[in-house]
Subunit: 320 residues, 2 copies
């Protein structure tokens, strides 16, 4: 790929050019030589978008809910970015699935950017690439960035949990409440949505959730009490209530300094991820695969344990 | 927790003591001060077990298949370890689900160890804790270690993919074949299992898989051609065929030097993970959260981009 004119790309992205946005994401999510240039150009422009994470087990209707939220925010005149990090989503790899019907409506809307992201194979994994993609959508002038991740898998859950507001979706039946608890997603929700609420068991799921979240218990004044909203996303029922809950949470986070704190934490995580990736590369570069291979050989032979091997490896790397 | 007598624990584990095994895993998966001691004691004992990864989307019957494989290996007189890294598995967090009926049969069998692992919250995540747990089961004298992971999520898929043999499970319907491809699990299977083969569409799934894997195409002589086995794990149908396929793959990997290579690669990954975790801790220790916070603050203010922030952070860390 020839070197990009970063300033021109950034300008085009801010004018609403979807190709410029796509190109910028490609430049930041991988190990492009222009990565630093792009990141420097984006820095002063980012930090304006409201980042909403959506997560839940496969089958709860995350993509349909995301699509309904896009529609709702468009009705309010907002520019919306979607980052889909979900192997089961029709957004990600839609071409493979051959079904982009639902998104077709948004695909032709210049106020909507949709980006899907493979969950594997990147430089530093999702922890690296997702925040960079969010940063591009933010800098490109999106008012809202929806980050849809599957609520299974450590990296995926982490990404949604680091948003300004995190929505956890559930659906009646399938022991979802319990599964959610096991996957650790009950700790990260700011807003809970019981989707497919026209199905049997929706009330039971909401009750179970209410119980598990301890919503009946007293809280300190000023504490956030996550609301539980029932929706039928496929029929756009309850979407406005979700948006209202999001806006309430956003207002609460701003009022209590939580938003600024979350963003600092997100930025710190970003720095950590970049640092770890850089160190990983340095390890590979400086010592070459040969040294690591030799250690691995001794480990498989039972002559050395992995911990001592690491100490040997690091002595050379960070010492003197 | 008081300091453990590591030598006694290791001896007890090798005698078949399930509590000793459990205790050792607890010592290695977290940041126990005795971690190094335990790892050193295990090193000469590990490397004998055959490590089999099982992965697939939620709903394909991973846990039932794992259980059937345990039974099959027990019939052959093998000691079996199970590491379940799957939030949807009845093995993991079984107490929460209140359903250990299926494993009850194995739970009382002294030749079977079952360990479930939360997918979040550990020191260095799954990438750190799963290999250490496998190492304990291996050193404790398990002939076979079955590692069940959900085939969604980067870290989870990676763990299964690093086994001696990796089994990818699918089930008819639900567009599983396509989902598998999207989740990247089609690249890692050594043996494919179409479970729930009594359902409609099992042949279609097998055909689709056959096509996607390019199994109809010519391969170089000596290349491994992943078999596709149909099973009904709930009725123990096809399990012996799976075991045969596993044994064939194992023999092939031994013959072609692939097993040794995979194990070296796994050991190298382990070292890398430990090194990165150590560096992450050093970063936190040396510079404190204060320095990172100050950088994060400047990033959220748009004054600094994360990449430059990382450079600043690392200069202090690895320089001079």
């Amino acid at each position: 790929m020839p070197a990009a004119d970063v300033a021109a790309l950034v300008a085009a992205a801010r004018e609403g050019g979807p190709r410029a946005v796509a190109r910028l994401i490609t430049l930041v999510e991988g190990a492009s030589p222009q990565l630093r240039e792009v990141m420097a150009a984006l820095a002063p422009l980012a930090g304006r978008a409201y980042v909403v994470g959506l997560t839940g087990s496969p089958g709860v209707g995350k993509s349909t809910s995301t699509s309904a939220l896009v529609t709702a925010y468009r009705r309010r005149g907002k520019r919306v970015g979607v980052l889909a990090v979900d192997p089961s989503s029709p957004f990600s790899g839609g071409a493979l699935l051959g079904d982009r019907v639902r998104m077709g409506e948004h695909a032709s809307d210049p106020g909507v950017y949709i980006r899907s992201m493979a969950t594997r194979g990147h430089l530093g994994g999702l922890a690296w690439s997702a925040p960079q993609a969010i940063r591009v959508l933010d800098a490109a002038g999106c008012d809202v960035v929806l980050v849809e991740t599957v609520g299974v898998g450590q990296s995926e859950v982490d990404i949604a949990g680091q948003a300004d507001t995190c929505v956890v979706l559930l659906a009646p039946g399938m022991g979802d409440g319990i599964q959610a608890a096991k996957a650790g997603i009950l700790e990260i929700g700011d807003v809970y949505v019981v989707n497919k609420a026209d199905r049997d068991g929706a009330d039971a799921t909401a009750r179970e959730l209410n119980h598990m979240l301890g919503l009946g218990e007293a809280r300190a004044p000023g504490d956030w009490r996550p609301p539980i909203v029932k929706t039928v996303a496929a029929r756009d029922e309850g979407t406005d209530e979700v948006v209202e809950a999001l806006e309430k949470h956003r207002a609460w986070t701003e009022e209590h300094g939580v938003l600024a704190e979350r963003r600092r934490r997100r930025a710190a995580r970003e720095v950590e991820t970049i640092a770890v990736t850089a160190l990983r590369e340095r390890m590979a570069d400086l010592h070459g695969d040969r040294r690591l291979s030799a250690l691995a050989e001794r480990i498989t032979a039972g002559e050395l344990d992995p911990y001592d091997a690491t100490v040997e490896l690091l002595e050379g790397l960070t010492g003197g």
